[in-house]
């Protein structure tokens, strides 16, 4: 036994025991423990195996920088790999497993890598697994991945909920230690909206680990009083368990709140994690400082721990790191740890100080060895002793714990995430944040201060600065007296010479000092290159412990100041954030919003099969019993519509009302065909171009009054077309009087199509819809029997007699039901977008399969819709440029296989008969195909070089990349059905 639980003291509740499981063993801890403190209290020093060499590893820190104690927490779908035991709150029933070991933590086969380590230095994989190239993917990479690594992701879906939320405040305080608490208190008392966020489950930061008294009270009581006051104010939001991980533009901070990660069975009504975006007018970064490890031989042995961590375990959790404790330090922190531990009865084996002398107070009778360094640690799965070297003389000292302190680095990550480079401070022997502007201030030890009293004062002072910038007057609270502080000063000691074992710089990625020198020798001297060559700082801890030491060591190797080396780049996230939190509720079918058509219910009860169309579900076809497959249903629907009448939901089309004195002039400029003289009460097919002359979208334009139009767009371009019109009106022609409003959602719109459409329509429309009164392309408001106001358009996409009837959306289903009823004597048939598509191909109408961004009106056979006589419209000017008028442009044609039994495929290429398939011989491609039930054969639309001159030519349809045999097809007009348009006008 070495590490142990004290009988009293600390902030754990000994009356509330908690049972948990680690690698199959049942262990116990207390409420208020982290998993790490509970493991340590159970004397479980060995908690993991290292990434590359599989060396035994133990707990090093008591916070979020932990590189070693990464465990898999939870079981089944809830198991989460690489969780830092040092921040995992203990809960009843917690199940933890160690990682990267096989078959067990104590007997790990991979430890053989430690013996092979002379070959496994930095760049080993790059150099070794070079050839044969094919081996990389199949042999080397899987092998390396199996041997090296962390925990495994589960393959089951995450059963828990996640949320995202926004928060707004005057002042965000990041970190609830002395500086943060005082900053929050100062700002809150001034009436500011304050958010105080801290990654810990208990607010108080480093104060929870201190034995000082503040204002004659224990530090923890001082914390409690401040928090009580803050909690009583409704302008203050306290956010424990919330890591602010990123600083983004405009002072928005990203944070993740662990709402239920400390519960065995989370409530289904709450998320397990919540991702916050906090928009703060100002922010104070009071993230404290990180203690640096010392880099000496065997510094990774379980039982070697940061001095400050040992103090946290002792003072906050009532856990002694060992009974016979050695300390290796270069500053005051090590002595304070020795004093604290000695006061709780631990024996101090020795204090080894790298400095020549130290004026520190020591526990009585403690042996001090100055000007000395540890070169090796003894023991296997836990430390049993160390070898100290002084002036060439070596000595072995027995111990069951070794506490190290290499000085302090302010935690400045957030301040440097938006491009600011950390600045080296000779005075502090650390990197500090530069001035990052008036909206983020650093306070306390994050700003380089060390004493608790100084941090309290600084927090308050920085809050006053923020308040002044926000124009809110404030005053500093009375500063309490702090007693029992120690001097945390230190002298830099980057690397302890004479190491007789690996001296690790980056524990998590197993990077040791020799890797750094190799990187220098091999030309990867720039710190960003060193990082990537050695993988230093690239583990999940992002080098929180090791990076500054690295800079110091590299500077030493190069004989320059760390200022010249600089740091690698700081980026979000400060600590790992789960994908679940990033996704929030946007998972699976909720990954994007869905839109529901007003006729969805009608389609559903008529048995529709639906298809995703953008955000919509559109009815695709309506199978009837006995039909085998969609083609049979679609064929029936097409024949029924062309013989009798059919009803189809077209509500998803974009519908835009256009108003204004200049509405006609405006439309004349955005459509390529003429719009000025469109008569009131009439509709017209319209073509919009892009400014480069290509077709953008098509639709209809209906005029309801001189200054009032309704235009429709395709479903796919509804949103973009609206934005395009707004751009033209606002940015291009702001002097035109024209206004828009989308009414896409106001109207349910249905196509009533077929020779008997009028017979059905007459039964429900009050107005005269005879051919004379309501001819082809008529468009106007009508009244349905019973008084419902509607709009009727006589337009056709199928070539049949056809109407589009629009009714207010809430009435859509009722009107469609009545139409079905009225159409029953005429065998009315509901049809979906598949049948719609077949009929438009039969009729040679284009969709975005043909309007593919590379086709001009003339290419599509719509040259008549290019009104060259208009002075200007979008796309006109560049339509005349070279290339758009070339003779061999691809033109829309029809195709029909010579062998009637063959089926065309969309996307197939066209070749002259006998020509080899090559880019040079490419004659065009097939854009749309269908089986035409009217013609009883497969037909297609295609874009073919000079196509309109080639009707009658036989051409090879080539689609071998997808495994289809060549087909010979005849080029023909794209209009397969009713080329005289006789049916439209019936």
């Amino acid at each position: 036994m070495s590490a142990f639980r004290l009988s009293h003291g600390g902030l754990v509740d000994r009356s509330r025991g908690i049972g948990f499981r680690f690698d199959g063993d049942d262990l116990r801890g207390y409420e208020g423990d982290t998993l790490a403190s509970a493991l340590l209290a159970s004397d479980r020093l060995l908690v993991g195996r290292s990434f590359k060499y599989h060396r035994p590893r133990g707990i090093v820190t008591a916070g979020s920088a932990e590189p070693n104690a990464l465990l898999t927490i939870g079981t089944g779908a809830r198991s989460e790999a690489n969780t830092r035991a040092t921040v995992q709150e203990l809960y009843d029933g917690l199940v933890a497993k160690s990682q990267n070991r096989w078959p067990s933590l104590k007997h790990d086969f991979g430890a053989i890598n430690g013996l092979l380590s002379p070959f496994l230095g930095a760049g080993f994989y790059y150099k070794t697994f070079m050839w044969p190239a094919a081996f990389w993917e199949k042999v080397y990479e899987p092998m390396i991945r199996r041997a090296a690594g962390l925990g495994r992701a589960v393959m089951e879906a995450d059963p828990d909920r996640y949320e995202k939320a926004w928060a707004h405040c005057d002042l965000l305080v990041i970190g609830a230690g002395p500086a943060g608490l005082m900053a929050a208190l100062t700002a809150a008392r001034a009436g500011a909206r304050v958010i105080l966020a801290d990654e810990g489950f208990r607010l108080g930061g480093s104060l929870l680990s201190e034995r000082v008294s503040i204002g004659n009270a224990a530090a923890a009581d001082f914390v409690r009083d401040v928090l009580q006051e803050l909690a009583s104010l409704d302008t203050v939001t306290l956010m424990p368990r919330t890591t602010v991980f990123g600083w983004y533009d405009d002072n928005v901070f990203g944070a993740v709140e662990k709402v239920q990660k400390h519960l065995a069975s989370p409530s289904p009504d709450l998320p397990v994690e919540r991702l916050w975006r906090i928009a703060a007018k100002a922010a104070i970064l009071a993230s404290g400082a990180e203690e640096r490890p010392l880099v000496f031989g065997g510094n990774d042995r379980p039982g070697v721990m940061m001095a400050s961590a040992a103090r946290t375990y002792l003072n906050r959790f009532g856990v002694g790191a060992g009974r016979k404790v050695a300390v290796f330090t270069n500053g005051g922190s090590g002595y304070q740890a020795a004093r604290d531990l000695a006061s709780q009865g631990a024996e101090i084996a020795a204090i080894i100080d790298g400095r020549a002398s130290a004026g520190e107070a020591m526990p009585a009778g403690t042996r001090m060895i100055v000007n000395a360094g540890v070169t090796k640690t003894l023991g296997r799965h836990r430390i049993e002793g160390l070898v100290v070297e002084r002036s060439g003389h070596e000595e072995t000292i027995d111990c069951d714990a070794l506490l190290m302190s290499g000085g302090w680095s302010p935690v400045i990550h957030l301040a440097c995430q938006r491009g600011a480079k950390p600045v080296w401070s000779e005075e502090l022997q650390a990197f500090v944040a530069p001035d990052v502007g008036p909206r983020l201030w650093l306070a306390g030890s994050a700003a380089g201060l060390s004493g608790i009293g100084d941090c309290l004062r600084d927090g308050s002072a920085k809050a006053l600065d923020c308040l002044a910038a926000l124009g809110k007057p404030g005053s500093a609270p009375e500063m309490p007296e702090v007693e029992g502080e120690y001097d945390a000063g230190f002298a830099p000691l980057w690397y302890v010479p004479g190491a007789r074992d690996k001296a690790f710089v980056d524990f998590q990625n197993d990077v040791h000092v020799r890797d750094l020198s190799l990187a220098q020798r091999e030309g990867f001297g720039h710190i960003e290159h060193t990082k990537r060559y050695t993988t230093l700082g690239m583990a999940t801890d992002q080098g929180k412990l090791g990076n500054v030491n690295t800079v110091g060591i590299v500077a030493g190797m190069r004989g320059v100041s760390p200022a010249e080396i600089g740091t690698t780049t700081f980026r979000p996230f400060y600590t790992p954030v789960s994908f679940g939190a990033m996704a929030g509720t946007a998972r699976a079918e909720r990954a994007r919003p869905t839109r529901t058509s007003p006729l969805h219910g009608w389609a559903k009860k008529n048995g529709a099969q639906f298809v995703d169309a953008g955000l919509w579900f559109r009815s695709a076809w309506f199978p009837q019993s006995g039909e085998k497959g969609w083609r049979q249903s679609v064929d029936r629907e097409v024949l029924a519509v062309r013989a009798n009448v059919g009803l189809c939901d077209v509500s998803t089309l974009g519908k835009i009302e256009v108003f204004g004195r200049d509405a006609a002039e405006f439309l004349n400029r955005v459509y390529s065909n003429a719009m000025l003289k469109l008569p009131v009460g009439r509709a017209r097919y319209g073509l919009m171009l892009r400014e480069d002359g290509m077709v953008y979208d098509d639709g209809t334009v209906s005029r309801f009054a001189e200054d009032h139009f309704l235009i429709t767009t395709t479903t796919a371009y509804a949103t973009e077309a609206m934005a395009h019109l707004e751009f033209c009106a606002q940015a291009l022609w702001p002097n035109l009087d024209v206004r828009f409003v989308s009414v896409s959602d106001q109207w349910a719109q249905m196509s009533l199509v077929g020779p008997k459409a009028r017979l059905v329509l007459e039964k429900i429309v009050e107005d005269d819809v005879s051919n004379a009164a309501f001819p082809f392309l008529a468009a106007r408001a009508v009244t349905l029997k019973g008084g419902l106001k509607a709009r009727l358009f006589r337009i056709s996409f199928s070539g049949e007699l056809a109407y589009e009837l629009a009714v207010p959306a809430n009435y859509g289903e009722a009107v469609a039901d009545v139409l079905m009823e009225a159409g029953r004597p005429h065998d009315i048939c509901p049809y979906g977008v598949e049948a719609l598509n077949v009929m438009r191909i039969e009729k040679g109408h284009v969709t975005h399969a043909e309007i593919d961004g590379r086709t001009t009106p003339d290419d599509l056979g719509l040259g008549k819709m290019f009104a060259a006589s208009k002075p200007d419209f979008i796309g006109k000017r560049l339509s005349s440029r070279f290339g758009l008028t070339a003779a061999d442009r691809l033109q829309l044609v029809g195709l029909r296989p010579v062998d009637k039994a063959k089926e065309l495929t969309a996307g197939a290429h066209l070749l002259k008969e006998g020509a080899k398939p090559s880019m040079a011989n490419d004659q065009g491609h097939v854009t749309s195909v269908c089986f035409s039930p009217v013609l009883g054969r497969s037909i297609g639309l295609a874009l073919l070089k000079s196509g309109r001159e080639r009707y009658g030519e036989k051409i090879v349809v080539w689609d071998k990349l997808r495994g289809h045999d060549e087909i010979v097809a005849e080029v023909c007009s794209p209009v397969f059905v009713d080329p005289e348009n006789s049916k439209l006008h019936q």
Partner: protein, 179 residues
Amino acid sequence: MSFMPRHILEERIGDFGRPVHADHLTVLRRPAIASVLAGGPVEALSGMAEVSLRPVGPGQWLAVSQSLPGSLLAESLAAALAGLGAHVVDQSDGFVLMHIAGPNVRRILAKCIAVDLHGDVFAIGQAAAMMCCHVAANVARVGADAFEIAVPRSYADDVFEEIVEMGREFSLTSAFDDA
């Protein structure tokens, strides 16, 4: 011939006798809503009782009335604005109007809306177009702890579901106003 309107959320919350908790979402079954487009200010409408005029953007408003029938609202607005170069479009079927109120309403909406809804910033009587659950919505503050959200009908099912989901932690209930 008479046609029965059907609310898009009918299937989802059609049943009667649903509980009403402190935090509650009411779906208004037949509010009158109209888009108003005008070149300048619409003082002519300030005298219209029972109509709440909610800004969308420059020269555009959403007029909402819970007492006038849909088409009547548009007609009376058009009459009031006649000759002023303004245009009115009935949108009573184009939007779904939800009223959400309760002690936790801001905490629920913080998960749906990015805009700061603090009373000092977004006061009672204020309204604006903003994103709500990824969708373009018009949000109005109608009380200290009460908001009205108008969303395009086709998105309403999705937005409703998301708001209810975000309200789970506060046991948010929902029902039609006439339930």
